[in-house]
Amino acid sequence: MDNSTRITFTKRPIPIPAEYRPLYKIAQLLQVLYLSSRGKKASLLKLHLFSWAFKSKKNMQKLESYIKSPAAIDLRLWGLEPSLNRALVYAISDNLCRYEKGNYVLTNLGEEFIELIYSDNDILKEQRVFLNTIGKSVTEKLVNNISKSWKS
């Protein structure tokens, strides 16, 4: 007897964290250019660092403490994220930032966009507070120092 029963699987969409939404990630990065970079530009490495920091309160605290006393904190445990590169590609093609001599630079449209976002006090609140606290103290030099510690 051929009792073939059909079993079907329906692929349902999956929930993903907000930081995997392209424009959300881009907004995160744009604010780094806007608030924490001299000349509104930053290297890829710096953007990766901040992307890691934004992942959690703990990470942001760690970065903050490191700035105050670099010797006290072990900041080797941070990583690069491939999704960030993808986000930057989108950002460039939508003219929110551009690539110039090794750095990513905020465009006028990008600045307009980030100001539009900031006009709502609620959006990206924690990250905004964090960036305002550390100001422009995360320089490219500092980022290089941190990445040097990988080599050891």
Binding site: Y20, K25, I123
Partner: protein
């Protein structure tokens, strides 16, 4: 009495003064003018002079027509810009006063009114005393010296009553509310009975006005009714409070209260049979319980106290028994305590999860806002297409090759919200479960303690001198005695509270009795006579004027609203429904006149003035209108002002006024306001 003696309307324009003046008769006045002649302006000015413009749905100069605010048109097509305008109104009760009120004036507010102590227009008296007053601002209705409405009420000897407002406060009935009972204005006044009463939050304002005009006794009753309601709600509050108090006292002794109503009620058997207590696996009422305790105490006191030696065997087995009990209880207690800890840990895990979900939710909501802002500046990403090649891209930064489809942001948010709800519901359930278990645990704990004490006591006794009286027995007696004392005191306390309930119950009874008296139809014989007269007059007039919509037999005056209703076999309804439009107009004519007549004949408060603005509405037949005019002619004790265009037809005018002789005709020419040299007294 309110008699409108004369009015003068003045407009100062850049091309000179324009004015219009009318002197009215103390009886029947017909003011005839074409539809565009400014007839409405004339009536509005009279209302304005009395400070009654709120009947036209506004305050101050807003309600006046542009012909008094912007420019005068004279002759047709030529406009003259107005610099200043005002209204002078002469009225009489026992004495005569003249009121001057600004419409437009750079230096004077339209809220200001000047009252001249005499006749400025008709007798042209000189050197009159002028009193300035104001309108509409706070206190205008109560300040007799400077508030115009308060002054007017006193001048007209109105004796306005105090009435209840929607906020529960008691204040004077505003004078503006009674005017719509005798002034029927063209724009809105013909829509319903007493239609143009302005809104002040007066409770049941139409009722109050009619009760006032007819001077019904029931008005006092209404007031008492409201006061009774306040008393009622006070008592309900007291009852609830007392009940909570009673429960609190009863709980001290673990006593349950059964059957005590939450709302006040007439309680016949208020004793402590309402109270029960759980004793030795039985639910007893309080008196039985106390009885049992007393009996047991008697038994104990009558028993000779055995010595320790005599009781050795008994004590030993008691100790063993209690020890077993204790072991079981301890085990149960441990188990349940462990259980509680486990559940608490579970709750903690879920609480952390809830925090995470909420964080994610916030991020997603932020993302949503970012995307919509991005769409406003027309970025390509929110539209899910590649900015360079315009191919469709998935809304995620996962590798494009990944076979998973991410949810849309909205879906994602919905998903997280559902998770949040689920966790919250779970936590709530946990909380309840834990609470219940904790209660049980506490129960075990106290029983364990009691048992431990008893065992200790018994063990002590075992090593006592055998000749000593058994301590446990003595203790049992003492404990029982103190329990009896405790409950006796408690019962006394409860009794006192019960007394208060009995008191409230009696007061409640009294209130209910009073309430019955105030059933809706409690009118004095005089009131009943007045309402009957109102009904008879109404029916007679409405029939005289040609009403056809409903048989006269079914028309009554409602005892609730004092307004005309149609009474069918089992239902009553407002005469508005089912009357033709012109019949509704006839009803308003009849009702307004009937109010006056009943007041006139049976000592009411009507000011003996009737004003009708375009009463021939809804294609009224000339015949009906003629009957109406003939009726108005008979009112020798009242002043009537009737404004009408008579369809702009001389023929209609002659037809409608046929047989009507005793009236003064005022004609408004093409335009109301004329240059001063031309204006004459009409």
């Amino acid at each position: 009495m309110l008699e409108i003696r004369a009015i003068k309307i003045v407009a100062n324009t850049i091309n000179g003064i324009f004015s219009s003046e009318f002197e009215f008769d103390s009886g029947f006045n017909i003011i005839r003018g074409n539809n565009t002649s400014g007839k409405s302006t004339l009536l509005q000015s009279i209302l304005y002079g009395l400070g009654m413009e709120e009947l036209l749905d506004g305050k101050n100069e807003k309600t006046m027509q542009s012909t008094l605010k912007d420019s005068v048109e004279y002759p047709k097509g030529t406009l003259h810009k107005i610099i200043e305008s005002h209204v002078i109104l002469e009225i009489r009760n026992k004495e005569t006063i003249t009121i001057k009120r600004t419409v437009i004036n750079q230096n004077k507010s339209s809220k200001l009114v000047e009252v001249f102590d005499g006749s400025l227009l008709i007798d042209k008296e000189e050197n009159l005393e002028i009193k300035p007053m104001w309108l509409h601002d706070k206190g205008g209705a109560s300040n007799v010296k400077f508030g115009f409405h308060a002054f007017l009420a006193e001048f007209l000897e109105l004796k306005l009553p105090d009435v209840y407002y929607s906020k529960g406060d008691l204040k004077k009935l505003y004078i503006q509310t009674i005017f719509p009972s005798f002034i029927i204005e063209q724009k809105k006044g013909w829509a319903d009975f007493l239609m143009t009463i302005p809104f002040y939050g007066t409770r049941n304002v139409k009722n109050r006005v009619i009760e006032y005009i007819l001077n019904l006794d029931v008005f006092e009753n209404e007031k008492e009714k409201i006061e009774l309601n306040i008393e009622k709600s006070n008592l309900i509050d007291k009852w609830k409070y007392l009940r909570t108090d009673l429960f609190e006292v009863a709980n001290r002794g673990g006593i349950d209260i059964d059957g005590l109503p939450t709302m006040p009620d007439v309680l016949t058997n208020l004793d402590y049979s309402y109270f029960t207590i759980y004793h030795e696996n039985e639910r007893l009422n309080l008196s039985n319980f106390l009885g049992k305790l007393n009996t047991r105490y008697e038994e104990l006191t009558n028993e000779p106290i055995s010595t320790t030696g005599e009781r050795l065997g008994e004590i030993n087995s008691l100790i063993r028994y209690n020890q077993n009990e204790l072991d079981t209880l301890s085990l149960n207690f441990d188990l349940i305590s462990r259980n509680i800890r486990l559940e608490r840990d579970k709750s903690e895990i879920y609480r952390n999860q809830l925090l995470e979900v909420r964080e994610e939710l916030k991020e997603n909501k932020d993302a949503k806002k970012i995307y919509s802002l991005g769409a406003t500046i027309e970025l390509a990403i929110p539209q899910e297409k590649c900015p360079t090649c315009n191919q469709k891209i998935k809304d995620s930064l996962l590798p494009q090759s990944s076979t998973h489809t991410p949810m849309h942001l909205d879906e994602n948010i919905g998903y997280l919200q559902a998770q949040e709800k689920m966790i919250i519901a779970y936590l709530a359930g946990q909380e309840k479960g834990i609470k219940d278990k904790e209660l049980e645990a506490n129960n075990f704990y106290s029983r364990i303690n009691t048992l431990r004490n008893e065992i200790r006591q018994m063990k002590k006794e075992l090593i006592e001198d055998e000749r000593m009286p058994s301590i446990t027995k003595i203790e049992e007696r003492i404990k029982l005695k103190s329990r009896i004392d405790f409950y006796s005191e408690l019962i006394e306390a409860l009794e006192i509270k019960l007394e208060a309930f009995r008191d409230l119950s009696k007061r409640w009874q009294r209130i209910l009795r009073k309430e019955k008296k105030f059933s809706k139809n409690f009118f004095s014989p005089y009131d009943i006579q007045k309402l009957k007269k109102l009904e008879d007059n109404f029916k007679a007039l409405v029939s005289k004027f040609g009403y056809r919509s409903k048989p006269l037999f079914n028309i009554k005056i409602s005892k609730n609203k004092y307004l005309p209703i149609v009474e069918g076999d089992s239902i009553k309804y407002d005469i508005r429904f089912d009357s033709s439009a012109s019949d509704m107009i006839r009803s308003i004519w009849s009702y307004t006149c009937s109010l006056y007549k009943v007041s006139r004949d049976l000592n009411g408060n009507h000011p003996n003035l009737l004003v009708f603005d375009e009463p021939a509405q809804q294609s009224m037949s000339n015949d009906s209108f003629n009957k109406f005019l003939l009726e108005l002619e008979t009112y020798k004790n009242a002043q009537v002002l009737l404004f009408a265009s008579f369809n702009n037809s001389d023929e209609d005018f002659l037809n409608t006024t046929e047989g009507v002789v005793d009236f003064k005709l005022h004609k408004i020419g093409d335009k109301l306001l004329k240059p001063n040299r031309e204006s004459e007294i009409n």
